[in-house]
Amino acid sequence: MTKLLPRKDVVIMGLGWTGAIMAQELTDAGLDVVAIERGPWRDTGTDFNIGYMQDELRYSVRKELFLSPVLEAMTMRNSTDQTALPMRDYGSFLPGYGVGGAGVHWNGYVWRFFPTDFQLKTHLTQRYGARRVSELQLEDWGVSYDELEHCFDQFEYLCGTSGKAGNLKGQTIDGGNVFEGPRSREYPTPPLKMPYVSVLFAEAAKNMGLHPFPAPAANLSQPYVNPLGVAMGQCSYCGFCERFACANYSKAMPQTTVLPVLMKKRNFEARTECEVLKINLHPDGKTAKSVTYVDRAGQEYEQPGDIILLCGYGLMNVRMMLLSGIGKPYDPATGTGTVGRNYCYQTQGGGVRLIFEGKHFNPFIAAGALGSTIDDFNGDAFDHSNLDFVGGGGVSCGTSNGRPIGYHPTPEGTPRWGSKWKKAVAETYQNTMAFGAQGSSYPVRGNYLDLDPTYKDRFGRPLLRVTFDFPDNDLRMSNYISDQLAKLGRSMNPKELTVSHARKGWNSVPYQTTHNTGGATMGANPKTSAVNRYLQSWDVSNLFVLGASAFQQNAGKNPTGTVGALAYWTAEAIRDRYLKKPGALVQT
């Protein structure tokens, strides 16, 4: 028997980065907000204890903070002629779980996508001609970098981001990222102290005429109080960021930036361990009425709301739309339909590993986003006229961790176990540096998301099916960067240099990256996007879909900065436009 609950102004599914930001902004606007979160409540003092947070076995190997496939699995395949199978364990990517979502276990890179990324189709077509991009399914995002600039700024200041501007109001600044879009002010805190590998990398890059700069990090270089009054501590360079929560209050997470203020508000309520089953529509199908969710005891509730916000992980948002019959599912045979369209990943690869002798790199002095980056080969920062691809990748070199179970580099040809292996690890641990590209991932017709026809979850709902392989364009891009990085590596005269190349045949088992994008993309055309420029569903006007699901393609950067900026952009649109006149914010 489903219990009908009293109406709320706003019902949010998921209390991670976007859920927390939206709740904070909309409660400030006076609305009564409830967030329904599948996972448990989690807070620093009680769940991220400094005494045991650095338990690599528990958190990194056994993945305690992540979504378990028992709760929600997905099926995977490389192409439509294969049968997708469910994974037994999340591998290639690791969705977050619980309050804070993936914002708990991220490394902390806070990037802004390039201005051209938001108008990629128009920009590349104008610069290189339509033929060059004909194998890709590119779309503009319907919003410009200039429109989003103040939202990027808001997210960076919320997080206390440590970095150095490379373009202040159009003025290029040496030492910062000279390829970035103009920013209105400097980062809130200065860059982290660079480890030795990053210093060597930056020197070598400069010698080749490249432009290294400190990566913008949400691991803070100094104590900081954000605009909400929430204080954060200085990063201790412990190297337990990715796969871990920060026990030191020094990595920006919803817990360290928003929740202390949000949780005290009388017009906010969080219901944890409650899983949304579906969104219910009014009979006309044009507005959402409520969400149905089930609590830990198995009791089902219907929670009506005037505004519904999907703030889950991007992939879960897409699945929820498909399960609720919102929007037209994408069909790869015809390239029509919008929900599930333009699923993209991140093209890892182009990795270079260097082994030296007599160094003391101390890789355990580390932080998630600690390092030096070059954007010379990223996006369209370099001329592709004489190249056979579009896109690129940001290349970072730093120390994100030197953990005992996960990190023991050995030279090529070393046995996998035994005394020789031990000796090699002891010699190589202090002498290894690596850098690689965070490559762009551009959409093609055959990469998409839909509901699996066979496999179901514990509530009997179809699982999400991911159909993906690395597009040829992206592989050519990645291999080009491999070649450039090999040159850079050789200039540093290592004892051993290994170069890896991206290959066809995405494998869902080994960890690669949790940067899944698209599937509910934003745009100006309802035929090629699921949500408009304000992340409002074209089909259901009181539904907004937050997160990286809105990206028309993934850039050569970690997505969280853009996810945060889009959340502020949407909150502003709801507050300043939608509340004054509910209904479609963009007319078709």
């Binding site: 807070d43 620093t44 003092g45 009680t46 204890n49 400094i50 005494g51 045991y52 104590p223 109080v225 909400l228 009054g229 929430v230 204080a231 954060m232 501590g233 200085q234 201790s236 412990c238 026990a247 030191n248 209050y249 202390p260 203020v261 005290k264």
Partner: protein
Amino acid sequence: MKSALAALMLVALAGAAQAQNQVAAGRYQAILADCEGCHTAPGGKPFAGGLVLQTPFGNMAVPNITQDRVTGIGTWSETDFRRAVREGIAPGGKRLYPGMPYPYYARMSDADVSSLWAYLETVAPVRHAVQADQLRFPFNIRSLMAAWNFLYFKQADFKPTLDKSAEWNRGAYLVTGAGHCGACHTAKSLLGADRAAALTGDSLQGWFAPEITGAKSRGVGDWSVGDVVTYLKTGWSAHGVASGPMSDVVERSTSEMNDGDLKAIAVYLKDQPAAKEPPLPSVARDDPAMRTGAVLYQNNCVGCHGWEGKGEKLIFPPLAGNAVLVQPSAESLIRVVLAGAQAVATKAAPTEPSMPSFAWKLNDRQLADLLTYIRNSWGNQAGAVSEKDVAKTRASLRGGT
């Protein structure tokens, strides 16, 4: 005729405005006296009572003081209220226990008590019957309170000290009156009467309420007036952070006080005489406990509190020069490391950071050494902590007290 009516209406309006002002003033008195702090159960309706105070004499449930006529004080007159607040005698001659700090409230002025009553009259009635007290014999005999009052209670109006400034006197009025600071910070005898010099610290409810006189190090003598004001307003200062029962006081009472009153409190406290107890001995750096403690400190504490024990503003409390650390009793300190603690959240400092529990990780000996190190480093000088002290607190935490 018309003008007479208008005049009458003006008088009525002025009267309404005055009443409005009196209610607002009374609300502020309720903040000064922190009425809501004790008269509200966790998660309960404001002023509806039910909070259980743990006292050496047994548990005491705090009554409902909303205007409910059956379970609250809806049948009281202002005179009844005045007598209860200032003399500890409820209607019908029922004696109140000094868990209700009427010996302090006795110094509140007539005007302040009147406005407090005017405010409480506007509080919505809540039907909430509070269980009777669970005091041990013979403390459960209310009439005995008459004897207690005879022995210890001086019904005295507040008398200004003429050679002190108006600000100092305002501070004295607040600290010894509505603020009832001594209820926790002044040591009590077995019978609950003041035993030691005022405000020199006392143990209660498993915490040690530190000395808050002008004493250097242990008190607020090293604090600037601004430091004290910041502490009371935000829960934070360069010398320490509110934790334990003081978090509630800061959250509900002092953070809502106006800056002038906070400054007056600071001026008064800084002028109070220090405890006459001799300074605690320092522990030598090469003492084995100090050496072990240093290693434990590096492995467990440095990440937040820093190598020099300086902490970080608004997030990690400083340990160097922290008054709570150098009290004669290490009770609060032991408790915080064993059980963890959460700093207070105020409008000015909403972060509410937590100290995690280390009970699972450090044994009694290790914890004693660690605390000995913290209490005797970076200029702190407060003697050793014994394994036995730690064991005692650990046992009491297990028992849930």
